[in-house]
């Protein structure tokens, strides 16, 4: 990301004021319906278009692609204002947080120009095609094959857990281009490939999840022809690109702390609605997650400082991922616990207005976010995998014996 590349001339606080005014004028008065159904999705996409047209789709990205070159501090300020305003959930996350940064690091100028502006304007929705049914934690054991045929690859295989899969236009996928070398060294012979989901031979099956929503999908490839120019990075060297992607997925999304701060404020609203303002146990639970979000905020700013100084954030990604996913789980589990018997009710109980005007949360949202928080401890590399990485690569503890 472009920590030092800002061409923006306003101060951070001037920029913040501008963003705040724009959001006040544009954020929908009522929360949008969930994007996991088509109607809500279309509204979210329209909102993304509004954001793009305002110049706010990704303020720290190059102006050439539709960003603002605003630098890291203004990007954080934007996110803080965005969540404070209760603006809609972003929907093109795979593109914004993963593919975009990866393209800027590994992509050719042609690829950047071809894909980034559409991504930013939300004209194309991207999803991630890494996991396979038999390759979860052990990602490198992936089996989806891509065989070279002239100036195309022919792709066969299956991906799973592609988030937004049911709505996506494109997928960035890991495919095995050299099975021979992969048999000896499984991290080799993998290629990072962008695939148009409208290609013949692609079948997308939305996956119904535990709460009935369909935010994920399975994607099946049968003799799908993909132009060789869709390879990002070097052929057979996709593992490095994948690791970089996972680094973005695990590491700090600068500004995300504001989302959790908003969540904790919603929790405070819940404490008020339940009349627990003087219950020291409730205060203890509220205080615990509040402390976590403050700590996370401090850490985001520390990491931003490292990034601005050109430092390496690799060793911080796994620690960051374990912390924020546990914090997020704590927040929503605390919410359910504070709800007592109402924690077992998904819809808003008739008698109690859990939808808090100030925080624009419905009780059903809480449940949805709760399950998402559970999933976050698994996706992007399970927290167990992160603990392996922390102990072996960050702390230098001895490896486990191999079987």
């Amino acid at each position: 990301m472009s920590a030092e590349m800002s061409t923006e001339t306003s101060t951070v606080e001037e920029f913040r004021a501008e963003v705040r005014a724009w959001l006040e004028a544009h954020v929908p008065a009522e929360p949008l319906p969930s994007w996991t159904e088509r109607a809500g999705f279309d509204l979210h996409r329209a909102w993304e278009r509004t954001l793009f047209e305002g110049g706010y789709a990704a303020v720290d990205w190059p102006a050439a692609y539709g960003g603002r070159d605003a630098g890291l501090r203004r990007s954080i300020a934007f996110a803080e204002e965005y969540y404070r305003a209760g603006a809609p959930e972003r929907i093109n996350m795979g593109g914004l947080y993963l593919l975009g940064p990866v393209l800027m690091q590994y992509g050719t100028p042609e690829q950047c120009e071809r894909w980034i502006p559409d991504l930013l304007a939300c004209r194309t929705i991207w999803c991630q095609g890494f996991s396979e049914p038999e390759s979860g934690s052990d990602l490198a054991s992936l089996r989806t094959r891509a065989e070279r045929d002239g100036d195309h690859y022919v792709v066969n295989g299956q991906k799973i857990w592609t988030s937004m899969g049911g709505f996506a236009d494109w997928i960035f996928a890991l495919v095995r281009t050299d099975p021979e070398v992969g048999r000896r060294r499984k991290h080799h012979g993998i290629t990072f490939l962008c695939i148009d989901l409208r290609s013949p031979g692609v079948e997308v099956r939305p996956l119904a999840m535990v709460d009935g929503t369909r935010g994920f999908a399975e994607v099946f490839f049968t003799d799908v022809r993909v132009p060789v120019e869709n390879v990002v990075g070097e052929v057979d060297q996709g593992w490095r690109v994948a690791m970089s992607t996972l680094g973005f997925e695990r590491g700090a999304v600068f500004g995300d702390h504001a989302k959790f701060t908003a969540d904790v404020e919603a929790l405070a609203a819940l404490v008020r609605v339940r009349g627990l303002e003087d219950d020291t146990r409730a205060l203890d639970e509220l205080g615990r997650v509040l402390v976590e979000t403050e700590v996370y905020r401090a850490n985001v700013y520390r990491l931003a400082g490292i990034a601005e100084a050109g430092g390496d954030l690799d060793s911080t990604a796994s620690i960051n991922k374990v912390f924020w996913t546990q914090m997020q789980h704590d927040i929503f589990a605390t919410g359910l616990r504070l709800m007592e018997e109402d924690g077992a009710v998904v819809g808003d109980p008739a008698a109690v207005p859990y939808a808090d005007a100030a925080t624009r949360r419905s009780w059903a949202d809480w449940h949805h976010r709760y399950w998402y928080a559970r999933a976050a401890m698994i996706f992007g590399g399970t927290n167990e995998i992160q603990r392996n990485i922390i102990s072996e690569r960050v702390l230098g503890l001895p490896m486990e014996p191999r079987p």
């Binding site: 979860g136 934690s137 052990d138």
Partner: protein, 346 residues
């Protein structure tokens, strides 16, 4: 009333019988059918539970039952929990039969007992602060309303407004129940002791169901990590996975012990304390089971298609019913302070 506890052999036989019945008629496929159909209770399964004599087990012999002590059913309840049975068995066959038997002179109470014993009635139970939502109220032929002061009312569907809420666990439907006016329903009598016993039965019984459901989550997880391979070895061979499961097994084992023991002790002087503690702990164990089972299953556990979520939701629903861990343990702490404070003053 002399209570006769079952022998170990009798217990095992009853649990075996229950598990066998439920294995055939209440497997994940059958649960999924109900989910798709949008119903929890089915007359078929209830009929089978009745045929086997489980529904009428606690009904007196002269009312058509077996006249057994509740302790015969503790293991059965754990088994019902293991199978996520979507029926008001605890409410109808345990709590209602116990309460109704306290009114031998009420023809109405006797007739309901006989209907229950015959498998012809589903009963929902409202237990004051323990039941802000009443389970299976929409399916019930009768709602027994047990007030804090010991007043017991029989409410027919026409006596109440039953408003379903969208329960997290659709196979354990919840509703708010409001009497239609002060005069709605029939007062069977005022029996504080019977109501207190009903509370203990409900809380200890919920602990048994919860321990059973948690055990199923443990079993499903043990099974899955034994089969699922990553990095050329079963996921269950990784020590961190094993230890997480071991910690869960400790909690589930202890929760089961406490729940069975509390349910068997409903007529002991410290019955309330044991029931409250068992349910409070079962709630903690269930929470651990919920978190660990899903984490160790990974992605597949999140899918609607895989059946883990049936138990995830069941433990969340049960943990929030008949007193949560937070409220129960607070009441126990208050009671301990009162009890030991008195001792100090003596």
């Amino acid at each position: 009333m002399t209570t006769t506890h079952p022998t170990t052999d009798e217990r095992q036989e009853l649990v075996r019988l229950t598990a066998d019945l439920l294995g055939r008629h209440c497997g994940p496929e059958q649960l999924r059918e109900r989910l798709d159909a949008g119903t929890a209770h089915t007359p078929e399964l209830w009929g089978r539970l009745a045929e086997t004599g489980l529904v009428s087990a606690l009904v007196a012999e002269e009312r058509g039952g077996a006249g057994l002590d509740p302790s015969y059913l503790s293991g059965v309840l754990v088994s019902l929990g293991e199978h996520a049975v979507p029926e008001p068995f605890l409410e109808t066959a345990v709590v209602a039969t116990s309460v109704l038997a306290a009114f031998p002179d009420s023809a109405l109470a006797v007739s309901w007992l006989e209907r229950i014993g015959a498998g012809d009635a589903l009963v929902a139970v409202r237990l004051g602060a323990l039941t802000p939502y009443v389970v299976h109220a929409g399916d019930a032929d009768l709602v027994l309303d047990l007030a804090e002061d010991g007043t017991v009312r029989a409410l027919l569907p026409a006596d109440v407004d039953v408003t379903p809420v969208q329960a997290l666990d659709p196979l354990r439907p919840l509703a708010t129940v409001i009497r239609r006016g002060e005069d709605a329903g029939t007062v069977l009598g005022v029996a504080p002791a019977a109501v207190e016993r009903a509370r203990v039965l409900a809380v200890a019984g919920a602990a048994c169901l919860l321990a059973g459901a948690s055990r199923r989550l443990l079993d499903l997880t043990v099974e899955y990590v034994g089969v699922r391979r990553q990095f050329d070895r079963p996921v269950g061979s990784f020590q961190a996975v094993k230890h997480a499961i071991a910690d869960l097994a400790v909690m589930v084992d202890m929760a089961t012990s406490a729940a069975l023991s509390a349910f068997d002790a409903v007529d002991e002087p410290d019955a309330r304390r044991r029931a409250w503690a068992a349910k409070a702990y079962a709630g903690d164990a269930a929470d651990r089971a919920n978190v660990s089972a899903l984490q160790l299953h990974g992605g597949i556990g999140f899918t609607w298609e895989y059946h883990l979520h049936l138990w995830l939701k069941r433990v969340m629903g049960l943990a929030a019913s008949y007193g949560t861990t937070v409220t129960l343990r607070r009441e126990l702490a208050v009671e301990l302070l009162a009890r030991t404070g008195e001792a100090t003053e003596r």
